[in-house]
């Protein structure tokens, strides 16, 4: 007899038993339901978080970015504070000469949170002094028709030019005014707007649109801020030559460690051994996140694994109880010609049916869990992490439950198959 021909009545039988014992079946399925739900929800949410974080890191300049920040001297060097010159444009030249792994160096001089004014309209935002290298390091650009960015010449000539973040524009200019070429005032100085930076929106639904107003746009800060030549910022606002930091972009992410080491050595040597700077990379952030991800997966996977295990035990338990109740039925089936293998298949199919139905209910529950998690995550994370259920994960969850059901069904099914028909028929 063909296997499929035997399977069909077995499955029909399984469904019939399921219908006949709804409550019991539901209880026996609860473990599988929870297991599948937590498994699918866990994988989905973690994947969503990973995806979001990748994007986040990318928006932060990616893995090829090294950030050098000024920092106070450590305790043991505090008495040498007078020797510290901080990070300066001289460091930029040194690094250019001695660290070939670094492709771009973007010096940054924060001016502060300043008021911008245009024709009676005002807005406040961060003003930063940068060079042309800011664009490749920050992975930003100026869209065609939106003017240009700060050039080397602007830096050389200490020009009073300004590039605006896209979020600043609607606050400062009426819709019918082209900002490029207009003059805005910062601390009383007149700056000519030469360009507008590209708008960061994040891709697809993963990161909410930065242009969304009010409390919503978590990426708004990336689009606010304005930029002036670093030389202008240092001489006309800050009054010293100290930079707030450097952004470095390396050519090859695989050489990140070497680049960091070379940068550190060069700076230490130039700073006479004073640790008045810190070096961070997104790799560390990424690494931290990977650890969190693993921890998440392990703990949630453990929960899912345990509930699936318990689910398996639940199914086995109910199958054994069901077989005990149906010993006579087994006897009758054998008396009319069923082989051991027929009954094995019948009860295994019953277990499989229970686990498949349980698995489907679990998937249903998981969509609910993912919805709730999404709600919580969008409230909690700056990136507004959104996880989407995908078919591959759901199929895996379902396959998992079927495997559990089959494993759990083997022993009860074997018991049914091995029952002696005479004993079974005598059973009261």
């Amino acid at each position: 007899m063909n296997f499929l021909e035997r399977l069909r009545p077995a499955v029909v039988n399984g469904l019939r038993e399921l219908r006949a014992n709804k409550i019991r079946s539901l209880l026996s399925m609860s473990g599988i339901i929870l297991g599948v739900a937590s498994l699918v929800a866990m994988v989905t949410v973690v994947q969503g978080m990973v995806g979001n974080f990748r994007q986040f890191v990318d928006a932060m300049g990616g893995i090829e970015k090294i950030t050098v920040d000024k920092q106070p001297l450590p305790k043991e060097q505090e008495h040498l504070a007078e020797l510290s010159e901080g990070i300066t444009m001289r460091d930029v030249d040194r690094l250019r000469r001695t660290v070939p792994l670094v492709r771009n160096i973007s010096p940054e001089a924060r001016v502060g949170f300043e008021k911008l004014a245009f024709d009676g309209r005002e807005t406040s935002t961060y003003v930063n002094g940068v060079t042309a290298d800011y664009l490749p390091v920050a992975k930003r650009w100026v869209d065609p028709g939106q003017g240009r960015f700060i050039s080397d010449l602007d830096v050389l000539n200490l020009n009073d030019v300004i590039v605006l973040g896209s979020a600043v524009v609607p606050d400062l200019f009426p819709a019918n005014v082209d900002p490029v070429g207009q003059v805005v005032k910062v601390r009383g100085r007149r700056f000519t707007v030469i360009g507008i930076l590209n708008n960061i929106e994040g891709s697809g639904m993963q990161i909410r649109s930065a242009s969304s107003r009010g409390s919503g746009g978590s990426w708004r800060w990336r689009n606010s801020g304005v930029f002036i030549p670093v030389s202008t910022a240092l001489t006309k606002f800050n009054g010293n030559d100290r930079l707030s930091g450097l952004g470095l972009r390396i050519a090859d992410p695989d050489q990140l460690r070497d680049a960091v080491e070379q940068t550190e050595r060069t700076l230490l040597a130039a700073h006479k051994g004073l640790r008045d700077f810190s070096i961070t990379t997104n790799e560390q952030t990424l690494e931290d996140f990977r650890k969190t991800e693993v921890a998440f997966k392990l703990s949630l996977g453990g929960v899912a694994g345990i509930s699936l295990f318990v689910g398996g035990i639940g199914i086995m338990n109910v199958m054994l109880a069901s077989i005990n109740e149906r010993i006579r039925e087994i006897g009758v089936r054998k008396a009319v010609g069923a082989r051991g293998s027929d009954l094995f298949l019948q009860f295994l199919a019953e277990a499989a049916v229970v686990s498949v139905v349980g698995g489907f209910l679990g998937l249903l529950v998981s969509t609910g869990i993912v919805g709730v998690m999404n709600y919580i995550l969008t409230q909690a994370l700056p990136t507004g992490a959104v996880a989407t259920l995908d078919w591959a994960i759901m199929a895996q969850g379902l396959a998992f439950s079927v495997v559990i059901g089959l494993i759990a069904g083997v022993y009860p099914a074997l018991r049914a198959a091995r029952l002696d028909p005479i004993e079974a028929l005598r059973h009261e």
Partner: protein, 228 residues
């Protein structure tokens, strides 16, 4: 009449603790096709053991059984299952219908365990069998909705659906009222006209008297074998 079953020196020994119990202690019998036989005896006489062995539910410890010309005493479980679904029918005292299945499904059940089960052919055969026992009007009922006599008629339909050579009826009237006893016994008796051998297993003499041949068993042996 040709011999359907021929048994020689049949023994069945059980181990009960330290003792050997001889349920069958050397039985020689022949059954012809289309015979109506009663096996009579008190409990423990070995009549049930004999029925189980002849019905391919059990195997003898010793002896030979020739069924339709083939030696079948030492068959494996799957082969015995084949005989149960193809050559043998059972009718039990407590009907043993499956409560969740309809009358039609219950009767079709033996056919579904055959080599090439075909649901529609099985249902058609089940309808014919139910017609034969006068239960065509209850196809979609569950056993629980039927009276005892009706249930036993359905059970008989299930026994004959696969065109068996022999039917074993184990105290088939034990749970029935007087009116239904006659009905069921008449029905069983009428099956011999179709060439089916009917074996009534009972401890009730009045039931056994309905058969043409009465085999009396005692302590694992045939005590008497008389034709009427």
């Amino acid at each position: 009449m040709t011999s359907l079953i021929s048994i020689r020196g049949l023994r069945k020994t059980y181990r009960m603790g330290d003792e050997n119990v001889h349920a069958l202690a050397g039985v020689d019998l022949d059954f012809a096709a289309g015979e109506f036989v009663a096996i009579l005896g008190p409990s423990g006489s070995g009549k049930s053991t004999l029925m189980h062995i002849l019905g391919f539910m059990d195997t003898p410890s010793e002896g030979s059984i020739v069924f339709e010309g083939e030696e079948v005493a030492r068959l494996g479980a799957d082969r015995r299952a084949w005989y149960r679904s193809n050559r043998v029918g059972f009718v039990f005292q407590s009907f043993n219908l499956l409560p969740r299945l309809t009358v039609l499904e219950n009767v079709a059940l033996p056919l579904l365990y055959r080599e090439r089960p075909e649901a529609e052919a099985a249902a058609a055969a089940a309808r014919v069998a139910l017609e034969r026992v006068g239960m065509s009007h209850r196809l979609d009922h569950r056993p629980g909705q039927l009276s005892g006599g009706e249930r036993q008629r359905v059970a008989i339909a299930r026994a004959i659906v696969g065109s068996p050579a022999i039917i074993f009826a184990d105290e088939p009237t034990g749970n029935l009222d007087v009116r239904n006893v006659d009905l069921v016994l008449d029905l069983l008796g009428s099956l011999i006209q179709e060439g089916i051998t009917v074996v009534l297993v009972t401890h009730d003499l009045s039931v056994a008297e309905r058969a043409r041949r009465v085999i009396t068993m005692r302590a694992g042996l045939v005590q008497e074998d008389r034709q009427r």
